[in-house]
Symmetry: C2
Subunit: 125 residues, 2 copies
DNA sequence: AAAACATATGAGCAATTATTCATATGTTTG
DNA sequence: CAAACATATGAATAATTGCTCATATGTTTT
């Protein structure tokens, strides 16, 4: 009936009732970052979690590129690329500067490279 | 009619026809990792891209924990947690060892910590 | 071996998401 | 200022995803 975690200084039994490993549960809950930070983190990684966006980021590793070049390179529609750039911009992974008619996109900061590098290390290990 | 990228040593005009910034397009395409690697990378980041899974990972930063303790800590169903653990296991972010009736989950390697740290840096900057 | 317990998993559903199409916004050129 | 060009965006749609419920698998206890 109640959802709250009971705390009791007992042994290491687990799960047979509402009495779980109270010590661990408490420790974990104390260390857990606030809800909005967890949300922001998940949103950030979501931005990396799509092949099209990953390809855009890899493209921007090499050069600052306008939307239509990105579309040409990745062989996708300008619209599709624009939509994805919006998400990347929201996650502050890329920025754009206007140059005449075009908008040139570029990596917003070095975290992008670092995070992708670490991800690469993990999948290659 | 054709989808192939034309290469022509021309100036810096862009986008008004099929002739884009050929040099950039070529450079980018040369440096682009193979399709399956891009896919794996995106899949990896997808695993980080959900609040529940992020919370599970933060929990495992503190201790190795069994499924039902995770469920208790995060105040979610055992089933929901199990489903998410399966995804995390597929991404090789966590592993589980059996201890009696329980399965104790733990972080698979240090990349998990590093990647989340880098993500944290980015959202806090 | 049966009952109890811990975890895993398949089906179903609601919510989210990636793309397309049509069109709007903003810039440059004639 | 009109036409052309580059990009952005809203609506619609198909695919994916996260959770629930029911149940299956595997372990321990009696």
């Amino acid at each position: 009936m109640d959802n709250e975690v009971k705390m009791m200084p007992h042994g290491i039994e687990c799960c047979d009732e509402e009495e779980v490993h109270a010590d661990k549960v408490q420790l974990v809950n104390e260390q857990m970052p606030p809800e909005d930070r967890l949300y922001d983190l998940a949103e950030l990684f979501k931005a990396f979690g799509d092949t099209t966006r990953i390809r855009i980021l890899f493209a921007l590793f090499e050069a600052d590129i306008c939307v239509c070049d990105l579309a040409a390179t990745l062989n996708m529609t300008q619209s599709a690329i624009s939509h994805q750039l919006r998400l990347l911009k929201q996650a502050r992974l890329v920025s754009g500067r206007r140059e005449g008619k075009q908008i040139i996109y570029y990596l917003a900061d070095d975290h992008v490279r670092t995070i992708i590098e670490k991800g690469m290390e993990h999948i290659l290990e």
